[in-house]
Every structure is written in C-alpha cells, then in structure tokens.
C-alpha cells in the first residue's frame, strides 16, 4: 500500500504552464521530500497528488489504480497543511474525529483511534481544548493526529514546520521521522529547507520551475549533484562555484568545491585570499574569503579552533577528489 506513480503529468493555470510533463514513482513506504526554491511547483505537485487540483493532462496511479479523477477523500491520502488548517470551532477530539465522522465510522472505533493517536502524540490531556488554546507545536500534532486516524496509504506534508520556531522545528522533525520509522507508511514531504530534506528523506526530489532537476538519496545528491542548481541547493553552507580561468584549468566551465572540502592554512596553499568575516560557531568556523578569482566571497568551513580574523591572508587548497566539474550547459562532467 502506498505506491504513487505520476505519468506525464502536466499542470497549467490558464496559459501558464506550471508543471511540464513529469514522471515520478514514489515507492511504498518511502519518505520522499520535494524540495526547491519558492515557486518551483513543489506544493502544486503535492496538491495534484492530493487531488486538491485537477491535473491538466497525464495520469496519477495510487497503488496501481488510476486515481486521476478520484476526489481527494477517495484517494486514501491524508494531508498536513502548512497552517495546520485545524477547525477552530471544534475541540481537539472533534478535529481528529472529523474525517472518521465523514466516513461514517462507528463511534467505538472512532474513540479507540482517537485515544491511540492522542497517546502517540502526547495530546491526551488536550483533547477537550480548542485549537486556539494550544501552542504551535501542539497544533501541529493535532494536524498529524487528524491525518493518522484515517490510516492512509500515504501522508502528504505541505511545509509543516515552517510556522514553528527553530528549536521546535528540530524536535518536530525528529518526531515525524520517528513516526515514519514506526508506521512505515509512504510519506511525501514538501519543504524549501534543504536541511529538512537531507535529514528526513529516503529520497529527495529537487524541483526548479516545475522540472525535476534530480532524484536520489540525500547522499547521492550531496556527492554527485547532476547539475549546478542541485549542487548549489543541497548542502550548507552552499557549494562554492568558481568560473573563469581557474575552472578552465580543469577543462570545465564551472568548478564546484564544498566549504568543508577546502583545507585552510596561514602559510601555504593553492589559492590566496583575504578574510572578510569569520563566523565562529564553536564547533565550526565559517570563513568568508575575498580575493579569489571567479568566486567572491568564497566560503570555507574550518575547525572550531581556527584563529583567523578580518584582514588576515589565508591560503586554500581544494581536496581534488571532492571537486565537482560542470560544463557550459550547467550539467555535471564526470
């Protein structure tokens, strides 16, 4: 249960073509993350799968059945919205019960599922409150509870953590990941945050302007980005992309080197530059370096104890085995 297949799916709003023909298979039990900058069509894609939008052409199969023309509720999917979309006039219990009530499930079964979900999500003490009386994290859990009780074949998450503060976000991220390990249900998760994508996904789908740039596991994308866009999008701090004469030495239009793959020295090295800002995080130091041709500033991730300051001259040496090469068309040269 929970395999989703998109065949030549397109979507246009009027004359604007948001999703050009697109193929994608999401396997059963997989945690798939759609990631990309805002406006890349990732949310639209999710809504097409959910059935909240009609597709313009193509076909969506869910568990081998053509679901293209099924209404959202008949697709066996549950969705957690960015704003949580809780019903403000209903108690937490009623919110969670609503999909089961709509499905006409008997009361005893409803109660059993609500109690189980509340227990799993630490909501037992809050069942009779209204959403307005809950914190952001609790609301998020209610939204997840409403999804769980339907026992869907797949969960859809639309940027579910973007309304939480940073600390809570890390916690919820773990909770959702653990829920996936426990339930082993297919999950599709939309985010613009590549950290969420890297930490949660079995499979990442990188989108730009409605086009899939690359599909793969987090480490595949990290190690072998298929093009410059993916290279720049995955990884933090961002990969340094260097153009010009330095790239030409490697027979490439652009070369890319991640900040963690640069060795820094105050005495000798391949490239020479001047420190602009050094950000000391304790565990790491991010050094922004000016004066290197083709990439300004260049970012280096060094150890926490590196003592450089504004104005110092430093020397850098890229680790050649981690150098990425891209052609004039932006594609990777292997």
């Amino acid at each position: 249960m929970g395999q989703i297949q998109l065949n030549q799916v397109t979507k246009s709003f009027g004359d604007v073509n948001v999703i050009p023909p697109l193929d994608l298979t999401i396997h059963e039990g997989e945690f798939t993350v759609f990631v990309g900058p805002s406006g890349c069509g990732k949310s639209t894609l999710l809504r097409l799968i959910a059935g909240l939008e009609d597709i313009t052409s193509g076909q969506i199969d869910i568990d081998g059945q053509d679901a293209t023309n099924l209404p959202p509720a008949k697709r066996g999917l549950a969705m957690v919205f960015q704003s949580y979309a809780l019903y403000p006039h209903m108690s937490v219990r009623k919110n969670i019960a609503f999909p089961m009530k709509m499905a006409g499930m008997d009361e005893a079964e409803q109660t059993r599922r609500i109690d189980a979900a509340a227990k799993a999500l630490n909501l037992t003490d809050y069942l009779d409150r209204r959403p307005g009386q809950l914190s952001g994290g609790q609301r998020q859990r209610v939204a997840i509870g409403r999804a769980i009780v339907r026992e869907p074949s797949a969960f859809l998450f639309d940027e579910p953590l973007s309304n939480l503060d940073a600390a809570l976000r890390v916690g919820m991220r773990l909770e959702i990941s653990e829920m996936h390990k426990r339930l082993k249900t297919t999950m599709i998760y939309v985010t613009h945050d590549q950290v969420e994508a890297m930490t949660m996904a079995d499979k990442i789908v990188v989108l730009q302007a409605g086009v899939i740039e690359q599909v793969g596991s987090p480490l595949e994308l990290y190690r072998e980005p298929r093009n410059k866009f993916v290279a720049g999008f995955i990884g933090s701090p961002k990969m340094n992309l260097i153009e010009g004469s330095e790239a030409a030495k490697h027979n490439a239009h652009t070369i890319g080197i991640r900040p963690e793959h640069l060795d820094v020295s105050t005495t000798e090295g391949q490239w020479q530059g001047t420190v602009g800002v050094a950000e000391h995080l304790g565990s790491d130091t991010f050094i922004h370096i000016h004066g290197i041709e083709g990439c300004d500033p260049l970012t280096v991730r060094a150890g926490g104890e590196v003592a450089v300051k504004h104005g110092d001259t430093v020397y850098l040496t890229p680790q050649m085995q981690h150098l990425h090469k891209f052609g004039a068309d932006g594609l990777r040269i292997s």
Binding site: G51, L52, E53, D54, P71
Partner: protein, 288 residues
C-alpha cells in the same frame, strides 16, 4: 485553486443572487426607458402616445433641473466632507486611553439606529423650529434673533441632519482603521523627529486612505438617494430639492410618468458616472 467540479457548483450557487439582481436592475430599467419616450399621464388620459425625446428635453430645460443636480451634489459632498473630517478626529479621540470607552462608543454610534423619518422630524421640530426649537431658545438666551433654519439655511440644516446620521458610521470605520495602525511605525517616526502634525499627515492619513475610500463609497451609495430627510423637513422647498426629490414630485405629485421617467434616466446616468468613478477607486483598493 479548485477543481472543475467545484467550479460548476459555485456557478450554480451564485445564480439565484445574480439572476435576481439582474432582473431587479433590468426590468424596471427597461420600463423606465419605455415610459420616458411616452406622453403618459395616468390621471389625465393615461398613455397619450410616443413623445420622442420631448420628456428628456423638457426635464433638462426645466428651471428646476440644474438646481436639483447642484443640490444633490452639495448635500452628498457636504455630508462626505463633514463626516470624514469629524470621523477622523473623533476616531483619533476615541482611540486614546480613557475611562468608559465602551459606553462612549455606544453613545457615538447611536444615531445610526435612528430611522431617517424620526431624525428628520426630531431635528426639524424640536431643534430647528424658529419658535419652540431648542436652537431658538439658545439663540434667544444669547440675545440673538432665532434663525429660520429650514427656510433660510435649508441646505445647511439638511446636511447637518444627514451628517449626524452618518457620522457614527464614518467614525467607527476610521476608528477601526486607526486601531490597526502599527504603534511601532509611529514610534519610529517619532524617533525620526517628526512633529505631531507631520506624523498625522505622513503616517496616519495614508494609513487611513483605504478606510476613507470605503466611507466615501458606502455613504455615497446611500446619500445619492436620501429621501425621507427632505420629504419630512422642507418637502423640497427652499432650494433643497434634490434630483431624487424632483423626480418623485414629477411622478407622484404631478403624475407625469413620462417626464418623471426621463428624469429617472438622468438620475441613473448621474449615479453611473459617480459609480464608475467610485468603482475605479474601490476596485483598486478592494484587495489591498
């Protein structure tokens, strides 16, 4: 935003309202157009045949026409000016910290609940009457000659009455808008050294522009067709005959339906000119 299915359902749900309003607009409009080309006197022979553009010419060349257009615009414009200016001032005052704010707010909005016939009668008799009215008492107290308000200052009097009715509405809308003004913005401008008047002019007033637009739109809709206030007070005499009232007199008092209908068409045209003008502004402001 939505699927095909919900879109057609939406059209179905909109249909009754749209069809009813279309009928409410078109049927009487077409009949009015029809009558406006007729010589039609219900009490003096009824339908006396086609009149061509006679009614239109007669209505517009009658000595009452231009003064009535002028009276309409003066009443609408005067009331708008008074309610907006005092509404802004009152809104700012009511937004200040004070004791009993809720009660004051109720006092201020109370006139809105008074039906126009009542307020016109009360103002006309109990306040503006030159012998027994409260104003007459007041004037005499100061040794002045009481004013014959409704004949000597008819327009001013009517505008006063109408403004009293509509000030609550303007105040409430503007107060709500003022309450939504970001306090930090005002503090920032204070830090920047802007004096009170400049703060009002550069920060508060622009913030209120949408609210003011709404006040103007809604009031104009209602003010263009005020009737009871004139019907009860001056009966259209002393230069207070608005276009609405003039047509009313032609149709009901002189029973000249053809002439009145031609006047109705003029009124509709005038209203449409105002409407287009207003809709332009509102259309722009509606989403903002």
């Amino acid at each position: 935003m939505a699927t095909q299915h919900s879109r057609s359902a939406a059209r179905m749900m909109m249909a009754p309202a749209v069809i009813l309003l279309l009928g409410w607009m078109l049927v009487p409009l077409i009949m009015t157009l029809y009558f406006s080309f007729k010589k039609y006197l219900p009490l003096r022979g009824g339908d006396l045949g086609w009149a061509g553009f006679d009614n239109y010419v007669r209505f517009v060349t009658s000595s009452a026409f231009w003064p009535s257009v002028q009276a309409t615009l003066v009443i609408v414009g005067g009331t708008l000016l008074i309610t907006v200016v005092f509404g802004v001032l009152l809104g700012i005052l009511l937004n200040q910290p004070m004791w009993g704010q809720g009660v004051v707010r109720i006092l201020v909005i109370a006139p809105f609940f008074v039906m126009p016939t009542v307020s016109a009668l009360v103002w006309k008799n109990m306040f503006m009457d030159p012998v027994n009215g409260l104003f007459a008492h007041l004037w005499k107290f100061f040794g002045a000659q009481p004013v014959e308000w409704l004949s000597d200052a008819s327009m001013f009097s009517i505008i006063t009455i109408v403004s009293w009715q509509w000030l609550p509405f303007a105040t409430l809308i503007l107060l709500t808008a003022i309450q939504s003004l970001d306090g930090e913005q005002l503090e920032a401008s204070e830090m920047d050294g802007a004096p009170v008047l400049k703060r009002f002019y550069y920060i508060i007033l622009p913030h209120l522009s949408r609210a003011i637009t709404i006040v103007i739109l809604i009031e104009t809709i209602f003010l263009l067709s005020i009737f009871a206030e004139i019907f009860v007070t001056t009966g259209g005499a002393f230069g207070s005959r608005t276009l609405t009232y003039l047509i009313f007199q032609r149709v009901l008092e002189s029973q000249n339906v053809g002439l009145g209908s031609a006047g109705g068409v003029y009124a509709i045209i005038l209203a449409n000119i105002v409407a287009i003008f207003l809709m332009r502004i509102v259309g722009k402001n509606l989403d903002a």
